[in-house]
């Protein structure tokens, strides 16, 4: 029953780097098709928590995750889990916009090329859909073959989102996606987040409580190694 309501469930989770705990005894649940904001002071482990949900921390030497982390109904640390499939279903957008030194179009289909089945997939249709979903289509539709680097930071961040959306993830993790942007671009991203929640579960790490209040239905506070649901005293 709870799995129909919650996309992510954490139970007694302990995250540590070389034995030093960043988060200890965390239990919480994140609702499906809702925006959940993760707030807390710098260095409290918000990003570590977020990155754990798609096992991005696996490559960091000394990182260890204990406890039960269930994403879309399965424990992601189960030995049988396909971590690449998990990362495809749980997309992630980073703080700093990252585009590859390729054309705008190639950036959108970057991940799609490896996930789409070889027969009859129409890349350009899916690229257009992803760009429309990321509110970027009208700005770039006439220059898809131009280098992605010519776009503004805000556009690059939306391009990174389009690239993630193109592989059709069910959950979107966003690690302070607006902190490197000016306020106008940040507003565009916030509108985008609100429009995406209809079809996606969104977990947003943010520094700004105001932003969390504007876009999120649920709030998770991370502080002093603990994670709680109720509105916290931060800042």
């Amino acid at each position: 029953m709870t799995e129909n309501v919650y996309a992510i469930q954490l139970e007694n989770v302990r995250l540590s780097y070389s034995g030093k705990a960043v988060i200890d005894g965390a239990s919480c649940a994140i609702r499906k098709n809702a925006v959940t904001a993760v707030v807390g002071p710098s260095g409290s482990g918000k990003s570590t928590l977020l990155r754990t949900l798609c096992r991005m921390n696996d490559r960091i030497p000394g990182f260890r995750a204990e406890g039960s982390v269930r994403v879309l109904g399965r424990d992601i640390h189960d030995p049988g889990i396909n971590v690449y499939e998990l990362r495809k279903r749980v997309g992630m957008v980073f703080q700093k916009p990252c585009v590859f030194p390729k054309s705008i179009y190639e950036n959108v289909v970057f991940g799609l090329r490896f996930h789409a089945s070889p027969n009859g997939e129409n890349f350009s249709e899916r690229a257009e859909r992803a760009l429309r979903d990321a509110f970027l289509w009208d700005e770039v539709k006439d220059r898809l073959d131009q280098p992605a680097h010519i776009l503004s930071q805000g556009q690059q961040q939306r391009l990174a989102m389009a690239r993630t959306l193109a592989v059709d993830p069910e959950i979107l993790l966003m690690d302070e996606p607006t902190s490197a942007l000016d306020s106008k671009s940040a507003n565009a991203i916030e509108d985008l987040i609100l429009s995406l929640k209809e079809h996606h579960t969104i977990v947003l790490v943010t520094h700004h409580v105001e932003q969390a209040e504007r876009v999120a239905e649920d709030l998770i506070c991370v502080d002093d190694q603990t994670v709680c649901h109720k509105p916290c005293q931060y800042p």
Binding site: C54, P61, G91, F94, F114
Partner: protein, 283 residues
């Protein structure tokens, strides 16, 4: 005057002086080779085979032999270097093992080339029964340029910004896909530069291939795996030893000029390809 300003001016002067010294040495070498080698150049010299122990005829087969060895070494070495770099950066996770791997590669770089020749001959020539042959030469040169290629490709792979890797990873790319989509395209510069540096090193190498892969005269194109080739390097060395025959000596300078030109062409082509890739990357 302000002593800080003096110091600054003196530093700049010393730097200019040192740069000047370096350029001067290069200019002297280039002028000498061009002045002494140019009289030997002619159609006959470039397109005919050498006769009468090098004092007559040309250096056609020497040029071909040099190209065979250099190209062969690059073709054999590149995949091995690339594989060892990817193993070190993508699959080797333990820091002490990584350190040891790096130490081994650097040690390989420090081995005198004659030792490569000796061990290479014992291993490829005697044990694998290749004898004095161009294949032995190619394999020895490939091992010799391996550290150069490895180090420059490794630097290129290591300098790929982490956010590119993370972006690939977050899209659910497997290690193999990550290599194809992110690591190889982003480290292409290093591969080209490394191959170039390796080839330049191979082009200058005489000791390791002198007695393992090359013969001085009576050699044309190799017809089988076990035949030797003749190279510009060997040719120059042997002719220079015949210092009494002025014609042979001119031919040695001529061969030197051709070798220099080959390397120069190689560098130009590589830089051209590189600048093309730079534009591609900017696109």
């Amino acid at each position: 005057m302000n002593p800080r300003l003096w110091k600054e001016r003196a530093t700049i002067l010393i730097l200019y002086g040192l740069t000047g010294c370096g350029c001067l040495v290069l200019a002297v070498i280039l002028t000498t080779v061009i002045m002494k080698g140019a009289p030997a150049l002619s159609g006959e010299f470039l397109f005919e085979e050498s006769r009468n122990f090098g004092s007559e005829g040309g250096i056609f087969y020497q040029m071909i032999g040099t190209l065979i060895l250099m190209a062969g070494a690059a073709i054999v070495c590149l995949p091995v270097a690339l594989g060892s770099v990817l193993f070190q950066t993508e699959f080797l996770h333990s820091p002490p093992l990584k350190k040891m791997f790096r130490f081994l590669i650097y040690s390989l770089n420090a081995v005198p080339t004659i030792i490569f020749g000796l061990i290479g001959y014992l291993f490829f020539g005697v044990l694998l029964d290749a004898g004095v042959s161009w294949v032995t030469g190619v394999l020895i040169l490939a091992v010799m340029i391996l550290p150069t290629l490895h180090v420059s490709i490794h630097e290129a792979v290591e300098s790929i910004p982490d956010h590119y890797r993370e972006a690939g990873l977050a899209l659910g790319l497997s290690p193999g896909q990550q290599m194809r989509a992110v690591i190889l395209p982003q480290s292409m510069y290093g591969m080209v530069t490394g191959t170039l540096l390796g080839l330049a090193r191979a082009a200058g190498e005489t000791a390791a291939i002198m007695f393992t892969a090359t013969a001085f005269s009576g050699v044309q194109l190799p017809q089988s795996w076990t035949e030797p080739v003749t190279t510009l390097q060997t040719h120059i060395l042997v002719l220079a030893q015949e210092a009494t025959n002025p014609k042979a000596l001119t031919h040695a300078w001529g061969a030197g000029l051709v070798l220099l030109t080959l390397v120069f062409i190689l560098i130009s082509v590589t830089l051209w390809i590189r600048s093309g890739m730079e534009m591609e990357a900017e696109r």
